[in-house]
């Protein structure tokens, strides 16, 4: 959507890809020194060699140091770091390990509703049991422990709950969980013996005043050894979001804490079959966790670019929420973080009826297959799918219906990104406003 890459990152990557450029005076020394260091750690000094399956060792060490700095000095063992093909890869790998049993003992995995549909897709593919816990829309999409308990108790009747997934900052909801909430979740996981999976790919995308990113690892350790020595935790990060936006490089990592040592051996074995994550993505991750320091030549430009990108996102987050909240029939929670807004839309009963009658499945097309209502699995179109299709046809704006992420029965949403340029975003929001009014009129 037009966001510019961070210059320094691309310089280092170019140097790594084509080391002849190390002789080119137009590249700054700090980029060159990083590139040389990365290449030295590659087989034959080349980005084209396989790395070890866990990822290049010095990069894992750099990631560990980054985590230590971020978390106020809490130790991080590089051996607990696994580089991955984007965060998605590591998430699926962990879920794969967790799925076992049959019938009543089949693994259940708790996921938030609404959620990023990688989770539901992975669980479906692995044949695990999805245990939905609802986020509180009326309370800025926060997590309610009572709801976690309810979902767990319910689930215990038909499966064996083993893991709990959280996305913080949230996707699609954008909420940034409070520290108290994170502690509550950790306590809950400890009591109920659940493996915690903390998807933190948006950790640099925090916009709202009063909100702050707390890593699950940090909170876990600050809760003392009773928790930090027991609770199993996997935390995920990626090069795709934050201020980097380098989705195409498929860079990412996970940190595993308190993983059973024998299981860890199995994990390492499992990732070895796919050989290694893309080395350019690993190199990129290295620069992300090891950016220019104040005394380095590239620092000023780097800070400027980073600040600008994050500030623009913050502005757009605010703007999106404001404009959408002005539309009668649309209610948008504050976009506290991440890259999306997930407004609730009121749909007239007539529209809902028409959606159900018009079955998307009579024409077997990709879109209907992709976006069947995951919380219902019903045939026929979800009303918000119907809405989004109409929006697309009439305005050319492509959004994703809330049914693709999950939502409480009888509520409808859509997810839009805040990524278009400010000017374009204004246009998009204006068109949505216009469309919504027109849609409401049409179906009243």
């Amino acid at each position: 959507m037009g966001q510019k890459p961070i210059t320094f990152f691309r310089q280092v990557l170019a140097l790594c890809s084509y080391p002849d450029l190390l002789e080119d005076s137009k590249f700054p020394e700090d980029a060159k020194s990083r590139a040389r260091r990365i290449l030295q750690a590659c087989g034959g000094g080349s980005l084209g060699a396989y790395s070890t399956s866990q990822g290049i060792e010095i990069i894992r060490q750099d990631v560990a140091r980054y985590i230590e700095r971020r978390d106020g000095g809490i130790p991080c063992d590089p051996d607990n770091i696994y580089l991955s093909i984007g965060a998605s890869d590591a998430i699926v790998t962990m879920l794969k390990l967790l799925v076992s049993g049959e019938g009543m003992s089949r693994t259940g995995v708790m996921i938030s509703i609404p959620q990023y549909p990688l989770y539901s897709a992975a669980l479906a593919e692995l044949g695990a049991v999805q245990i939905s816990y609802y986020l509180e829309e009326d309370n800025c999409w926060s997590l309610d422990i009572n709801e976690l308990r309810r979902a767990l108790q319910e689930a215990k009747k038909h499966c064996s709950p083993r893991a709990l997934c959280i996305i913080n900052p949230g996707n699609p909801t954008g909420q940034v969980q409070s520290r108290q909430c994170i502690e509550d979740v950790i306590r809950f996981a400890a009591t109920e013996n659940l493996f915690l999976m903390s998807d933190e790919v948006y950790q640099d995308n925090v916009y709202a005043d009063g909100c702050k990113f707390h890593s699950f690892k940090k909170v876990l350790f600050e809760m003392g050894p009773e928790y930090s020595e027991k609770v199993e935790l996997a935390s995920f990060h990626s090069t795709s979001k934050c201020y980097m936006g380098e989705c195409g490089f498929r860079g990412g990592y996970m940190e595993v804490v308190n993983l059973d040592p024998e299981v860890k051996v199995q994990l390492t074995k499992l990732v070895s079959v796919r050989l290694c994550p893309p080395v350019p993505g690993q190199a990129l991750l290295d620069v992300v966790v090891n950016p220019p320091q104040p005394d380095e030549p590239s620092y000023d430009t780097f800070i400027k670019e980073r600040t600008e990108t994050l500030a623009t996102l913050a502005e757009k987050a605010n703007m999106t929420q404001e404009i959408l909240n002005q539309v009668p029939g649309i209610k948008c929670n504050p976009v506290q973080g991440a890259m999306y807004s997930f407004p609730r839309i009121h749909l007239p009963p007539k529209a809902i009826l028409e959606a159900k009658v018009e079955s998307a499945c009579t024409q077997f097309n990709l879109i209907s297959v992709l976006f069947m209502d995951i919380s219902k699995g019903e045939k026929g179109q979800s009303p918000d799918m119907f809405y989004c299709m109409k929006l697309l046809e009439e305005t050319g704006i492509c959004l994703v219906p809330g049914s693709g992420f999950g939502q409480r029965d009888g509520t409808y949403h859509f997810r839009m990104t805040i990524l278009p340029s400010k000017e374009k975003l204004k246009i998009v929001l204006a068109k949505i406003k216009e469309f919504h009014q027109h849609f409401t009129d049409q179906y009243s």
Partner: protein, 547 residues
């Protein structure tokens, strides 16, 4: 003296896994390494014989049982079943030894020569300049203004970037890959085969492994006697057996004919198929051509027979062709399965389901780290195709840098372009060296008594058969490991050579092999082969002498 050394070596060897038959683990027998800050040495759940090595798992230090939700009991049993020899125990041991050498330890050698994995750059092969220029231009488009980059590289980079969202390699692409690149691949295939190729049947993948696993995933279904059976060659590249384990499909082995240069024997296919039908539903046949680990390049006739067999028995064909540019034997030629299928006429061409795989990791480019690859899928049921695209979409897209690398491979400099000369020179040099080394390896190994090496017709490996004396076989069994694993461990410990035991790839009962790559430089390869020869001779002596 020698016997003492041997006994001392046992406790180290005891740590190795019996490769081809997965051990079932019981926690009381498994040594567990204490969590530490240092580099951990992963052993794939093995029997430990030395009580001195018994460790305690971290959570039990204070005597209380610490319950975990993810233990060997609750771990996915399919994951437990997975084995992948190429990066297995022997390599872990090699890394340990390397570390020891780095830290100043003494060994009977000064370096470990790793000939276990098809990683060309790691063994000193140089990247193709043009490919890296294009990737650098795509990565940092400011370089378009640099006079040090040739026009043909810039033109390709611009084109690739035009196919990227926001003109950036950092955007997600469509899940099937960048459209321009898919079209370039289709054009490449058409040129290679003289057969039409539809770009919509092309899918970019994260290395060929990714595509192979995706197709297998689609194919696995049913229960018990209707469970999907997957026919794979023995010996095979253990991605296939690992995937089959992970997906809980049924592995159906068909043996390649060692006495006939590892050729595929159609009667053996029929035998395997008939036997399998009794307990599963064979649905797919996998072929690796040129072969890994065996290096054989299948004849056109053989390919026809396989396709005819697949046609008759309604099997989905998966043709792993990542080594299609690695053909060395003058009387061998690469024939793509697609081309042969086409030449068999419309009845075959319009019906046999075929997925063909290629990669940036092998050939003359050796770009393993970029994780580039593609598959071409023909005659797939249209509804299943929709499902395939849906499945791919969950992982968003293959890495863009790998897609760009793949594009250069299928769209290399042409004779009238500025970079052609250098490109052609580099390509010829790499392939020429590989051909030389293939020949050298075969020759030297065949000169060793007790080693017999089939011609390395293609790919990047030699898979010689080794005679292991009965006493050594016995000793290995007593240690709970495969005889060729014992052999390879000893070779590693005594000579610093890392190769992979044949049991990791599969072989006929009672036969033993190892797989080595032909990738080290010619000088280093000669050193390696010399050491293998010396080792083998002394190994034979040692175990023939034992009463």
């Amino acid at each position: 003296m020698y016997r003492l050394q041997l006994l001392a070596a046992r406790s180290l060897i005891a740590g190795a896994l019996d490769q081809f038959t997965p051990l079932t683990l019981t926690s009381s027998l498994t040594g567990v390494r204490h969590k530490s800050q240092g580099p951990s040495v992963e052993k794939y759940g093995q029997m430990r014989f030395s009580t001195a090595e018994a460790k305690v798992s971290a959570g039990r230090l204070d005597g209380k049982m610490r319950e975990k939700s993810l233990t060997m009991d609750t771990l996915n049993p399919q994951v437990k079943a997975v084995e992948y020899a190429v990066r297995g125990p022997i390599v872990i041991k090699a890394v340990e030894i390397e570390r020891c050498l780095e830290e100043g330890g003494t060994k009977p050698f000064s370096e470990v020569i790793k000939a276990n994995i098809g990683d060309a750059h790691a063994m000193g092969q140089q990247p193709i300049t043009f490919l890296r220029q294009v990737v650098a231009l795509c990565t940092f488009p400011e370089l378009m203004n640099s006079p040090s980059f040739p026009e043909d590289a810039k033109w390709r980079a611009r084109r690739i970037l035009q196919g990227c969202g926001g003109y950036s390699l950092g955007s997600y692409s469509a899940s099937q890959g960048i459209e321009y690149i898919r079209k370039d691949i289709a054009a490449f295939i058409e040129q290679r085969d003289g057969v039409p190729s539809n770009w919509e049947n092309i899918y970019l993948t994260t290395g060929a492994s990714d595509g192979i696993m995706t197709i297998l995933r689609l194919l696995v279904s049913g229960k018990d006697s209707s469970r999907t059976g997957v026919m794979i060659p023995i010996p095979q590249y253990p991605l296939y057996s690992a995937a089959i384990s992970e997906m809980d499909a049924v592995q159906v082995n068909y043996y390649l004919d060692e006495d006939n240069c590892w050729a595929l024997d159609i009667n053996e296919l029929y035998r395997a198929y008939q036997a399998a039908k009794q307990h599963c539903q064979p649905r797919v046949i996998c072929i690796i051509n040129p072969g890994n680990p065996t290096g054989q390049v299948q004849s056109k006739k053989c390919i026809e027979e396989v396709l005819h067999f697949a046609y008759e028995e309604n099997l989905f064909v998966m043709s792993d062709e990542v080594y299609q540019d690695n053909v060395y034997a003058p009387d061998c030629q690469f024939h793509s399965f697609k081309k042969v299928l086409y030449e068999m006429g419309p009845e075959y061409f319009n019906s046999v389901e075929l997925a063909s795989f290629h990669s940036t990791s092998k050939g003359y480019t050796g770009e393993c780290g970029f994780r580039g690859g593609y598959m071409e899928v023909i005659n797939m049921d249209p509804e299943v195709k929709v499902q395939l695209v849906k499945l791919l979409s969950v992982r968003l897209c293959p890495p863009l840098a790998g897609q760009a690398a793949m594009d250069v491979i299928v769209n290399p400099p042409q004779p009238d372009e500025p970079s052609f000369k250098q490109f052609h020179q580099e390509k010829s040099s790499v392939l020429g060296a590989l051909a030389e080394k293939a020949k050298l390896t075969e020759q030297i190994l065949n000169a060793v008594p007790g080693i017999k090496c089939n011609p390395v017709q293609g790919a990047m490996y030699a898979f010689p058969r080794i005679f292991i004396p009965p006493k050594a076989v016995e000793e290995a069994k007593a240690l709970g490991m495969q005889p060729d694993m014992l052999y390879c461990l000893r070779l590693l410990e005594e000579k610093g050579i890392c190769v992979v035991p044949g049991s990791g790839f599969g072989q006929k009962d009672g036969t033993y092999h190892f797989r080595m790559t032909i990738l080290p430089s010619t000088e280093k390869l000669k050193v390696l082969l010399g050491k293998v020869r010396d080792f083998h001779i002394s190994f034979l002596k040692e175990y023939s002498a034992l009463e």
